[in-house]
Subunit: 614 residues, 2 copies
């Protein structure tokens, strides 16, 4: 069962208000052209609205069943497209509105075909195209289609079906005219029978809302998650609903309501706001065009109250660029030796990061690549942080591919960081796109670290940095120590080696040692509670002091530090330092000052980073 919102939500209150207002409108006539339909209760009235994440809002008789009638037409049109392909179908049924009534016997003579699949003539020709080994097989395929859209088992109202079949003379006449003009082929009585049955499927307003939401959701039922129809045909269904879904009221409907829709003579209306949600309304009394009077009123009200018109201002250009920064503003979480930090202070601006988000399509991507082009001065590395991208459509992919090649020619390296796995696979499997595995990294932090490493390499190759093994006197913690103090500190240090994967510091352990990494590299991380993953907080490189909390008698460790590669550290047991403190108080004071200065600098950098990120 899908999730229903029937209680206190603002939207439910609005629907209830609209339902109340229209309930008193008793104009219109229940359909009488077949005896069974004439029995409908003119007071029955339900409204439902389904979102693309499967929430259904409903009021009134939203679960009362009625026959789907002409609302079946666009869905079966979709099945015909899937079975026969677009060109085959278009040759046999046009897509041009006629301005004529639903049961018109006028044909598109130039094309020798019915004008469109929403008039009966076109709908019968559409049903004739549904494939299957037998009558029963074809019927099952039609019923299955509707069940996928509604997300629930559906049945046929046998009484209505028999009534339709025994009184549907005009439809029979249309069918034989089509046979006569070679618009359709035998077995025409079987096609007609299927058509009468498809019109007699029982649905509710709630079903219609979910069916509409499935159309809005690119063919995937948002409640069951099942694909109801191939996504590439969705635009075709919505297009015919838009141009001819409401009989000879279609133009005015789009003008006033502005949603692709389809009505049926039993009083149902289905309406779709693509990419947003679906609406289903049920109320039997019809106007002269054969559309539900209350249904039209409700949809017009909903469209006005919620600004849903397709051409209303509610079509946003989503904010695709979340943020941009350079690597001198935000760094990787790797702590580096002072000389390397100095290189990055200088060269970090060569790394430009753009954080993208949401759905990337033509117009949003156009802005992104234009912005990227305007921010290329002195850039050597361009990182696209893709964690927040939810979709990259084909046009965005190909614009990006063009740009990728263009940047490559200009000597700029483009990296994709943190793109969701499925999108990455999609980009890599499309062999027309120019990138390879190496252009993708898992996280933005990895991408930043990789770029920083390249900048440091280049600077050191140019002779700007010092590449040798770090000495104690070069480390921040040993700043301002005189020779005697340096010797004393050296004498207190223990040198310790760690194998790759070995824990240097363990979360929760007592903090009683300070570490100075002199060779290798280690990662700072914590165990994610309740699962087997680790969350990476940062990394430590050569020349960096860590675990300095020990100097402040600071309780327990807040994270694990684990060696990535064979790693060498100088370890300062704080107890040893305290032993010598009474004689040499200056050493302790200087170490505390040095560590304090480092912390203070890191804090200032972190605060600047917060301001950049926020």
């Amino acid at each position: 069962m899908p999730h229903s919102q029937t209680s206190e939500s603002a939207i439910h209150r609005r629907l209830a208000e609209i339902h109340r207002r229209h309930l008193s409108n008793t104009s219109g006539q229940v359909a009488t052209y077949i005896p069974e339909l004439a029995k409908a209760d003119p007071n029955a009235f339900g409204i439902a609205m389904a979102t693309l994440d499967g929430t259904v809002y409903e009021v009134g008789d939203s679960r009362q069943p009625f026959t789907i009638q002409s609302i079946s037409k666009p869905f079966v049109y979709g099945l015909a497209l899937e079975d026969r392909g677009q060109e085959h179908v278009l040759k046999r049924v046009g897509v041009e509105p006629t301005g004529e009534a639903f049961n018109s016997i006028v044909f598109d003579e130039r094309g020798n075909r019915p004008f469109n699949p929403m008039v009966n003539a076109g709908a019968i020709a559409t049903t004739a195209m549904v494939a299957g080994d037998s009558h029963q097989h074809r019927l099952n395929r039609i019923l299955d289609l509707f069940q996928r859209f509604a997300g629930e088992p559906l049945t046929i109202d046998e009484a209505v079906y028999r009534s339709e079949k025994s009184t549907g003379h005009r439809n029979r006449a249309i069918t034989y005219l089509e046979l006569n003009s070679n618009m359709i082929e035998e077995p025409v009585e079987e096609h007609l029978d299927l058509y009468f049955r498809q019109c007699s499927i029982l649905v509710t307003a709630r079903h219609l809302a979910i069916m509409a939401a499935t159309l809005a959701n690119n063919g995937v039922n948002p409640v069951t998650g099942e694909r109801a129809l191939e996504p590439r045909y969705m635009r075709n269904l919505l297009s015919v609903m838009c141009s001819c879904g409401m009989y000879d009221f279609s133009g005015e409907w789009i003008y006033r309501v502005g949603l692709p829709a389809k009505s049926g003579v039993a009083g149902g209306i289905v309406a779709v706001l693509p990419g947003q949600f679906g609406i289903g309304v049920f109320s039997p009394p019809l106007d002269v065009q054969g559309n539900s009077v209350r249904g039209i009123g409700v949809c017009e009200d909903l469209s006005t109250h919620f600004s849903l018109h397709l051409f209303d201002k509610n079509m946003p250009l989503s904010v695709a660029l979340r943020r941009s920064y350079r690597c001198n503003q935000v760094r990787s979480k790797r702590m580096r030796r002072p000389s390397h930090q100095a290189i990055l202070d200088q060269a970090g601006s060569k790394v430009q990061v753009h954080v993208l988000q949401g759905d990337l399509f033509f117009a949003s991507m156009e802005r992104v690549i234009r912005h990227m082009a305007s921010e290329l001065t002195d850039v050597k590395y361009l990182v696209l942080d893709g964690r927040h991208i939810s979709r990259l459509d084909a046009s965005a992919q190909s614009l990006l591919a063009d740009d990728f090649q263009h940047l490559g020619e200009a000597g700029v390296k483009l990296l994709f960081a943190g793109l969701p796995h499925l999108l990455r696979v999609e980009l890599l499997l499309d062999t027309k796109l120019p990138w390879s595995m190496h252009d993708f990294v898992d996280s933005i932090d990895e991408a930043l670290e990789w770029c920083e490493d390249r900048l440091i390499e280049q600077a050191e190759r140019a002779g700007d940095g010092d590449a040798g093994l770090i000495t104690l006197s070069e480390m921040d913690i040993a700043a301002h120590l005189d020779a005697e103090e340096l010797d004393l500190l050296s004498s207190l240090l223990v040198r310790r080696s760690f194998a790759p994967g070995e824990t240097i510091i363990r979360e929760g352990a007592a903090a009683d040692e300070v570490f100075m990494l002199i060779a290798g590299s280690a990662t700072i991380s914590v165990q994610v509670p309740g699962n087997n993953r680790r969350r990476r907080l940062g990394a430590v490189g050569e020349g960096v002091t860590f675990g300095e909390l020990a100097l402040f008698e600071g309780g327990t460790r807040s994270a694990d530090v684990i060696a990535d590669v064979p790693t060498e550290c100088f370890v300062l047991p704080v107890a040893a330092l305290h032993d010598v403190a009474p004689e040499k108080p200056n050493l302790l004071v200087k170490l505390l000052r040095n560590v304090g200065r480092t912390l203070s600098r890191r804090l200032r950098q972190a605060n600047a980073e917060i301001r950049t990120l926020d």
Copy 2:
């Protein structure tokens, strides 16, 4: 002059490729129904595309002038709507597609009106509705309309106008039939003359693209920023373009291309993707329906290549909720005394922040309020961070208003932080909305601080905190000092008072004193370079130590600290501390440790905040 992208952009390259491909298509016939049009060069071919921020991409003969012809119809329809209102216009001209050709003499007999404003009969009736004191005045108003849409002065092609006027017998016949049926009134020769002139206005593909982008941009010309037409009529123009813009090819056009559009017999096509951009194409050879052959090919290719179809999957539900957090994860920038921090550690989760972004409309707001409702457990204060909101449409406003009242009844206080000024004014001026000035604060930091202050007040009223004047021994910096050390520290301190607005610490000054705030409040800020504004970095409350860099012999101050209210501090001159250090080394060591521990805690919190924000 608008900004043009004619060089190396990926989009320009695609347009050039499409132009090249269709240039070789020489099918179709230049219009011959008036002699002047027959002179058109069948090889002339231009494409232009304009974005909603005024960038124009163009290739080929995009600046070659031609007469606008029927493309004038939707624009003048807009002028009639502005002049007469929607109901008046609808009574005189329908909006129903006919399936008939552009010059059809069939009328909607039920309504006694032309079927729609895109066939000649409807367009002449539309022009008849344009207001003005005189023939000349009406003509000027029509010309002004097109100039606002194109953003440039336009002229009428006199030769074409005379040719139209002297050979337009069928249009004259239609006009007199309309007069005969009381569909229009005298002076009909003046109406006809205006109609012929409006069709003879000279435009280029570039103009058409900008005109289309103006329609896409809710009636505001994206190049000049001028409003061309009232926004509320935009949906009407786009609706008639959608249902009947391409003559009796309109259904197939929406099916294949999926953009509201209008063509003219001189070979122009204008097409709109609402909210995204506009397209203009020019190529004189026409197909049997009277539409530009290359124009249709180009639009179909653009639609396919860039996934522009109105009902294609490129209609994103923008990511409206950027981030959510509670106040125990992210704090205001006010530094507080330890006892207050403890209160906030505990009670901070009562403050829930949702950061919204982009365009808020029905479907995005529906998700936001549903998410808000699901995250209300134990929440007392709900802060909406609105800095990144670009638009709140009427339906989003009213859903939010409903929710605001609902939250109020449930005892939750809702605050709007950092909403752009114009949006705030809009919300406050609408008297139907339930909020007042007090519900809006300028920045998210102010909102957080306000909520924190309330939490602290409540805790203190409940007896959980200590509200008295802070003593030295309660401060972090004095932790672990014994009585003798505390006395010694006290003897070194100088008490200093600051008036509101007085500078306590000045950026760039030497850092030689440590401050302990014992009464009042101060703000940390920096001067924004090149302007008179200050950037607020944080605030200091009672019981907080600041300027502690002085203890590390730490160079110069990095920000100003300015008293907000009358403020009292204990000041520790570091030189005095050094004077006593040789005798009492423990005091210095303990102070360094205490400050180090505080810095370390702040750094850890800042890093956690970075992870929350990122």
